[in-house]
């Protein structure tokens, strides 16, 4: 049933149809719908932090401006570019999976993972700098150079949201790593079997999307 000979060992690359589904289309539709709903819950998870951000920004505009200026804009910008590029490679992986080019799927996810590690390394340097000078949340704040009402709150929001985001980066990396190993080892992605790649990639886009909101909120405005 496959037109192109893309599987290395010649196995039919059709996913297993679970017994309770009527057809493969329904099964894939269900998987995609489930993922979209899950992404909606993720957005609402971050929405709670965005509300905290909004309220405290309204209450302490000076602290927010000062806190925002104290962040390293270069590192933030580089990180944004890294993460958006990694989203591109993740999207390309879906493209190659649909064509059954398993090796390219693996390579694309490997590139995504490399950039994800890069993102976390840069984030680590930013965090290390803050630990060094003392711009830390709540009662751990000890930076003398910037003292004003609400400034500790800015760093509470900063650390909570970026740490939660970093956690999502790590979860996303795990998902993509599993898909990458499968692309290299089992080589069974193809036009009828790319749901796993697509869902993993969707999750990665969400991780990217959240950062696209966090970056201007924390660094730019």
């Amino acid at each position: 049933m496959q037109s192109s000979a893309h599987t290395a060992d010649g196995t039919a690359n059709v996913p297993r149809l679970a017994e309770h589904f009527a057809s493969l289309e329904v099964q894939n539709h269900a998987a995609r719908l489930g993922m979209w709903l899950f992404l909606a819950t993720e957005i609402l998870l971050f929405a709670g932090l965005f509300v905290c951000y909004g309220c405290y920004r309204f209450l302490f505009p000076e602290a927010w401006a000062a806190g925002s200026r104290s962040l390293d804009l270069t590192m933030g910008t580089v990180n944004t570019i890294v993460l958006i590029t990694s989203s591109l490679t993740a999207a390309l992986a879906v493209h190659y999976a649909k064509e059954g080019k398993n090796k390219m799927v693996g390579v694309m996810f490997a590139l995504t993972l490399v950039m994800a590690v890069g993102f976390l390394v840069i984030k680590y340097f930013e965090y290390a700098h803050k630990f060094h000078i003392g711009t830390l949340p709540g009662r751990y704040y000890f930076y003398e150079g910037m003292q004003m009402p609400g400034i500790t709150l800015y760093f509470t929001v900063y650390f909570c949201s970026t740490a939660l985001h970093a956690l999502h980066v790590i979860i996303g990396m795990t998902v993509l790593a599993v898909a990458m190993v499968r692309a290299f080892k089992k080589k069974d992605f193809g036009p009828n079997n790319y749901t796993m790649v697509e869902l993993g990639s969707m999750y990665w886009h969400l991780v990217d999307l959240v950062w696209i909101f966090l970056f201007p909120m924390l660094y730019l405005v």
Partner: protein
């Protein structure tokens, strides 16, 4: 097994001879492993039922301890700190471990695929995972409770919850974990409704219970992540003092309240919407009439789910909200009443001129109607800002939410337990004891909470350990009512356990219901339907064709 679209043969349907080919889900694999690792939605539902009843018992014991303590002013059986912990644990266990999962996770899990003509929910393994996530969360919560307990009330209000020396963090972490279980169940049910409906079951042929579960799942998916984030923030704040809600650092405790009620108000509808759905099924079955105003009932479920997201501010009328905000939230709160009233009118319209078969579930329906109407009307009163301010944090509020949220949910939980008992276990229970215990429970519930309305209206604040002499008579009355209630539950436990072991076989459809879930065998085989695609009657609960009815106004 020949699938039949006709349900009329019901009661006497022979099913024993089929057991050799397609054993019921209860005996298809009898090892412990076959239960613990099952992906069958029915077995998962039964496992949920077991633990939910267990936690209901735990919460109930806490409730009785509270009522005994409040028998006399001053210390009766415990000190003030124990009392604070006890009411917190009562609230937490009842809300997070019993009421939120009660109907969706047990009966939703069991009935949804049957009602949609599906072999299972869309993601069976996720379903099993949600069960174990629930248990993990419960273990964290109970561990925290046993290791010191917490005394914040189930609302975890900051700044107290971030400073109290009691064990807040593990309990909140437990609530966070249970949230994932709730989300997983919600996603599963929504996807099941979208993709697993059998041919012929269109959206507006879905049973109303499915509509209610669908609306509930939407709330679960959209609201739970917010409380998830919030519990983590407060647990982190309690452990490390990050200062997110600490007024000393500019943090705003009212922001906590907003985020908390953004989940916790819709959570009320997570508890009560499935109850509404159950009642829509039961009222049709026992009145032997098609549901009155099907679409109105279906849409009002979605309406409640939608409006429920915009009413949270009525919990904070005295938290420093502007008068304008309070007014807006008050009006939005009353909209919930409009949608609920649509349902109530339709249920009553269904019973009207029906051939009522007054069985145990119908008795619970009557109790349910009473609690919904009176609980709902006190809710409208509480939604009025000028009335809420004096009633705020009194026993009037306690009695109100026990009527509407707990009363309605427990009535529906017991009604569905009795209504679907033959479906789930293929056994019948003793009808006489069923009616006796239903009467005891409904009376006991009223006797517990009507005095609380009165004592609250007289000014007794909630969560207080001590009270002046003049409130004692009403408190004693309330405790007496609670014992009646407990007695009713003990009777149910006895005869249902007896029925489970020694009960007579019920046959396929003892109620001669035309609900879709009765199309399959009782108890159903693994994968529910065997053989070719079952055809379903043209709509659920189709008892009378309105176009051919002999009496023109019969429907």
């Amino acid at each position: 097994m020949t699938p039949s679209s006709s349900l009329d043969t019901a009661g006497a349907a022979p099913h024993d001879e089929h057991h050799d080919d397609h054993p019921s889900y209860l005996v298809d694999g009898t090892t412990i492993k076959s239960w613990l690792l099952t992906v069958d939605h029915k077995r998962i539902g039964v496992m949920f039922l077991f633990f939910i009843l267990l936690f209901f018992l735990v919460g109930g014991i806490f409730a009785m301890l509270l009522r005994v303590e409040l028998l006399t002013p001053g210390p009766t059986i415990m000190d003030a700190m124990t009392y604070n912990r006890t009411f917190t644990l009562h609230g937490l266990v009842m809300i997070f471990l019993f009421m939120i999962p009660a109907i969706p996770a047990v009966f939703g899990n069991f009935m949804l695929p049957l009602m949609l003509g599906a072999k299972d929910v869309a993601f069976p393994r996720l379903n099993l995972a949600s069960f174990y996530i629930y248990l993990t969360g419960a273990v964290f919560m109970l561990w925290g409770m046993l290791n010191g307990g917490l005394d914040t009330g189930w609302t975890f209000y900051t700044p107290y919850s971030t400073h109290t020396t009691t064990t807040v963090a593990p309990v909140m972490f437990g609530a966070f974990i249970i949230g994932f279980s709730s989300i997983a169940t919600g996603i599963n049910f929504i996807v099941t409704c979208h993709t697993m409906r059998a041919p012929g079951i269109t959206w507006f042929k879905m049973p109303l219970f499915v509509w209610a579960i669908y609306a509930t799942s939407c709330i679960q998916v959209l609201a739970t992540p917010v409380i998830g984030l919030l519990t983590v923030l407060v647990a982190v704040e309690n452990l490390f003092s990050f200062g997110m809600f600490d007024p000393a650092r500019g943090g705003d405790p009212v922001l906590f309240q907003h985020l908390f009620w953004f989940y916790s108000h819709p959570a009320v509808y997570i508890m009560v919407l499935p109850a509404f759905g159950v009642m829509s099924e039961i009222v049709s079955t026992y009145s032997r009439k098609n549901i009155f105003g099907y679409r109105a009932v279906a849409y009002s479920s979605l309406g409640i789910a939608f409006v429920g997201f915009f009413a949270w501010g009525h919990h904070m009328f005295v938290s420093g909200q502007s008068t304008f905000d309070a007014g807006v939230f008050g009006v939005l709160t009353m909209l919930v009443g409009v949608f609920t009233a649509i349902k109530v009118f339709n249920w009553v319209g269904t019973v009207y001129k029906g051939a009522v078969d007054f069985k145990t579930p119908f008795a619970y329906f009557c109790g349910f109607l009473f609690f919904t109407v009176f609980g709902g009307m006190t809710g409208i009163a509480l939604g009025t800002v000028s009335l809420d301010v004096p009633w705020h944090d009194t026993y009037f509020v306690v009695a109100h939410f026990h009527f509407i949220m707990v009363g309605a949910t427990i009535m529906a939980f017991l009604a569905s337990l009795h209504y679907w008992f033959p479906k789930m276990f293929g056994k019948t229970y003793h009808e006489g004891w069923g009616l006796v215990s239903a009467a005891l429970i409904i009376l006991g519930f009223n006797a517990t909470f009507i005095p609380q309305f009165l004592v609250g209206n007289n000014g007794m604040p909630r969560r207080y350990y001590d009270y002046p002499e003049r409130f004692q008579a009403l408190n004693v009355a309330s405790t007496a009512g609670a014992s009646l209630l407990a007695f009713g539950f003990i009777i149910i436990a006895c005869y249902l356990t007896y029925a489970l072991v020694f009960g007579e076989a019920s046959g396929k459809n003892p109620w001669r219901s035309k609900g879709y879930e009765w199309v399959s065998e009782s108890p159903p085989p693994t994968h529910n339907f065997v053989g070719p695609q079952v055809t379903f009657p043209e709509e659920p609960h189709f008892y009378v064709d309105p176009k051919k009815a002999e009496v023109p106004d019969a429907v």
